[in-house]
């Protein structure tokens, strides 16, 4: 995906094949020879972690679907059948359920990394927007997946969230009935949620393909935010990035395994082990943890329509981020003021999550509103103004200079690793 391939097969069969379908060359230029900035830190490994997690979710999900029954009378017991009687079914289900949470942890870190290092700025606007599309698809997939076990929180979460659409003026009720396939969340709803829950991950995989394509057109950003200028700024993807990503993925798996094997229900809700009952409302209806900041924004606005608009705006605003941030310098490393506002924004998001988990009463409402206001203030006022008034620190001339010091600026200091040298792009 990154220009002309340097792949030059010697084997006659591979040569024959490459002349007809240059797919091995494509893989080679994308994941072997692809030049990656030499100064990437471990925050840059979350792209690989996310790709692996998408694979884990799809594989476990496909097997789970072989044993699951999407019917209101059978779904709950079919999940218990998986937990009790399917060989290693408990492992598949705990991997899948906790995998969703891991996916969101990784995507939030990935997004905050983008925010910190200004990875959304020109020429990477489309790359960033494709990421926001993936995030939206993930939210829809996660929400529908949580409905499938048909426990109390599944049903009541589905009721609360689908009811949001009834806030749309005039057509709201029709839209909700259409989504439900009836007049309440019932069997048709569960059926279509299962169908869509199976479909959306493949759409995510498609958009991930576009995301990686866009990434390989512009090249990766890096902690300095200075574009790659010479071959000495980069190393070959393989073995350098592959090994670093591999190490990070295994470390992430240790974290993941802690949840699967030792605290598998920590991120779930006890009420979801009670079969769905439309006649009995749980004391607190709480969405999955990864929706909590947006849930807090939804509840911060006193009108239903206003809340829904605010919640969706909180994500839509991300599409405009590349143009809202007026700063020319990318990395927060060289932006002395933005650096503080970034961390304040992180804290605000975490607090919004806390407010989303708390009952909407008393002080929580006031704090929730203040935090919601700040969330939008950050994007709509602080970022545009900051770029105009902030005086950035002097940037290094190149990545090489940032790594090796000022004397190495334009000189080509080729890493002398013999393993990688032949595969470097000329």
């Amino acid at each position: 995906m990154s220009g002309h391939s340097t792949y030059n097969p010697q084997n006659p069969v591979l040569k024959w094949f490459e002349a007809r379908l240059p797919i091995v060359g494509l893989i080679h230029s994308s994941f072997v020879a692809y030049p990656t900035p030499r100064n990437l830190n471990y925050w840059w490994t979350f792209g690989a972690i996310l790709s692996v997690m998408l694979g884990v979710q799809i594989i476990t999900g496909v097997v789970l679907a072989m044993h699951y029954t999407p019917h209101v009378d059978l779904a709950f017991n079919s999940v218990e059948h998986i937990m009790r009687d399917v060989n290693y079914g408990w492992l598949l289900r705990y991997m899948h359920a906790n995998g969703a949470s891991m996916f969101f942890i990784a995507v939030y870190i990935h997004m905050f990394r983008g925010l910190y290092y200004g990875s959304y700025k020109a020429p990477r606007e489309v790359l960033w927007m494709l990421g926001v599309v993936i995030f939206l698809l993930m939210m829809a997939t996660g929400f529908m997946g949580y409905v499938l076990p048909w426990g109390q929180m599944s049903l009541w979460g589905a009721i609360v969230i689908t009811n949001l659409f009834s806030a749309i003026p005039i057509v709201g009720e029709y839209v909700t009935t259409w989504l439900w396939g009836g007049f309440s969340v019932d069997n048709p709803t569960l059926n279509r949620f299962f169908s869509l829950h199976y479909l959306l991950p493949f759409m995510i995989a498609g958009v991930v393909g576009l995301h990686i394509w866009a990434l390989h057109v512009t090249g990766q950003n890096n902690p300095t935010g200075v574009e790659v200028k010479s071959t000495s700024d980069t190393v070959a993807f393989t073995p350098y990035a592959t090994l670093k990503d591999g190490f990070a993925v295994v470390c992430f798996f240790i974290f993941f395994a802690w949840f699967i094997f030792y605290t598998p229900n920590y991120l779930g809700h006890a009420d979801n082990y009670i079969r769905a009952n439309p006649l009995q409302t749980p004391a607190h209806i709480v969405p999955e943890w990864y929706f909590l900041p947006f849930y807090a924004i939804l509840r911060a606005i006193p009108s239903k329509l206003g809340g829904v608009v605010a919640m969706f705006s909180a994500i839509i605003v991300l599409f405009f981020l590349p143009w809202l941030d007026t700063a020319k310098v990318r990395s927060a490393k060289y932006r002395p003021l933005y650096r503080y506002f970034f961390w304040i924004f992180v804290v605000v998001c975490i607090l919004l999550g806390y407010i989303g988990a708390s009952p909407p009463e008393g002080l929580y409402i006031t704090v929730g509103r203040l935090l919601t206001a700040y969330y939008f203030l950050h994007f709509l006022v602080i970022l545009p103004v900051l770029g105009l008034v902030e005086k950035p620190l002097p940037l290094p001339a190149s990545i090489t200079e940032a790594v090796l010091g000022p004397n190495h600026g334009g000189v080509s200091v080729v890493p002398s690793s013999s393993a990688a040298a032949p595969e470097r792009r000329a």
Binding site: K244, F247, I254, A257, Y262, Y266, A270, Y374, V403
Partner: protein
């Protein structure tokens, strides 16, 4: 600009103060159960067979008169990682239950002794019958109760629970509830007629009367026949019923962890070697 910065820092400080002060606001529901300490907690946790067998005896002789357990089959009682009764014991046990089967060739339903593959028969034919017999209350099914019950520990303790792997909220709650019937209701608190005071139940008033008393169930292994012991045993049994593969999960988990940590170490040094001639 500095003004805006100061404002923002102030706002964050207020928000953090609220964050830190909230556990007191969040406290609700019933009294907090004490941690009872379980053989199955922690990374190497495993069930105590004797305890599961005693717990099953308590379930069978006391709880089963009102509570169903319809996700459990008789065969589960002899499977690895559970009470591990012998096959003979379980066959004998199953044959003491009657289940409805059919229709037979004459088109009629008939009763027969239960087999290993049968689920535990419910004490009531349906929810309505259960409610009618219990003054309107519906005794919940036992199969998942140990995972379907919990209590709130606030933000900070919950984070600690993740690190220390405290996952026994359900059994602790059940144990506390079963031993919590002897408390007096606070001054001025009255439940509806037919409800019983128990500080651990959310709201304080529960439909289930004190279910078990000292000496009610005989233990063949000489364990104390006290409410305290019964409660522990039946709570442990319920945890097994809710999570029958808990032992396998923790055992495999340990192996996976060891593998991943070694693998991560190897990858780290490989990566270090490959990167050793590239300043980064």
């Amino acid at each position: 600009m500095t003004h805006a910065l100061v404002q923002a820092v102030k706002a964050a400080a207020v928000a953090i103060a609220v964050f830190a002060a909230t556990p007191s606001l969040a406290a609700e529901g019933g009294a907090h159960p004490e941690k009872a300490g379980w053989s199955f907690s922690g990374p190497l946790g495993h069930f105590d067979r004797g305890q599961l067998q005693r717990g099953f005896k308590v379930y069978r002789e006391v709880c089963a008169s009102c509570h169903s357990m319809n996700l459990i089959s008789f065969r589960n009682l002899m499977e690895e990682g559970g009470p591990e009764f012998s096959e003979g014991q379980v066959r004998q046990l199953a044959s003491e239950y009657k289940v409805t089967d059919g229709p037979n060739d004459a088109g009629e339903m008939f009763e027969r002794p239960a087999r290993l593959s049968d689920r535990f028969p419910s004490p009531f034919p349906n929810e309505q019958a259960a409610r009618a017999a219990q003054g309107g209350a519906y005794p919940p099914d036992f199969s998942l109760l140990a995972k379907a019950r919990t209590y709130s520990r606030g933000v900070w303790l919950s984070l600690l629970d993740l690190v220390l792997q405290y996952q026994e909220h359900g059994p602790d709650y059940i144990h506390a509830l079963l031993t919590g019937y002897d408390h007096q209701p606070p001054e001025g608190s009255h439940g509806q007629t037919g409800l019983h005071y128990n500080p651990y139940f959310p709201g304080g008033w529960i439909a289930m009367p004190k279910p078990i008393s000292d000496g009610q169930v005989e233990y063949p292994d000489g364990s104390p026949t006290t409410v305290e012991q019964y409660s522990r045993d039946v709570s442990a049994f319920m945890m097994w019923a809710a999570e029958p593969h808990l032992e396998t999960r923790k055992r495999i988990g340990f192996q996976v962890m060891v593998f991943l940590i070694i693998f991560a170490g190897l990858l780290y040094f490989t990566k270090k070697k490959v990167w050793s001639d590239v300043a980064h």
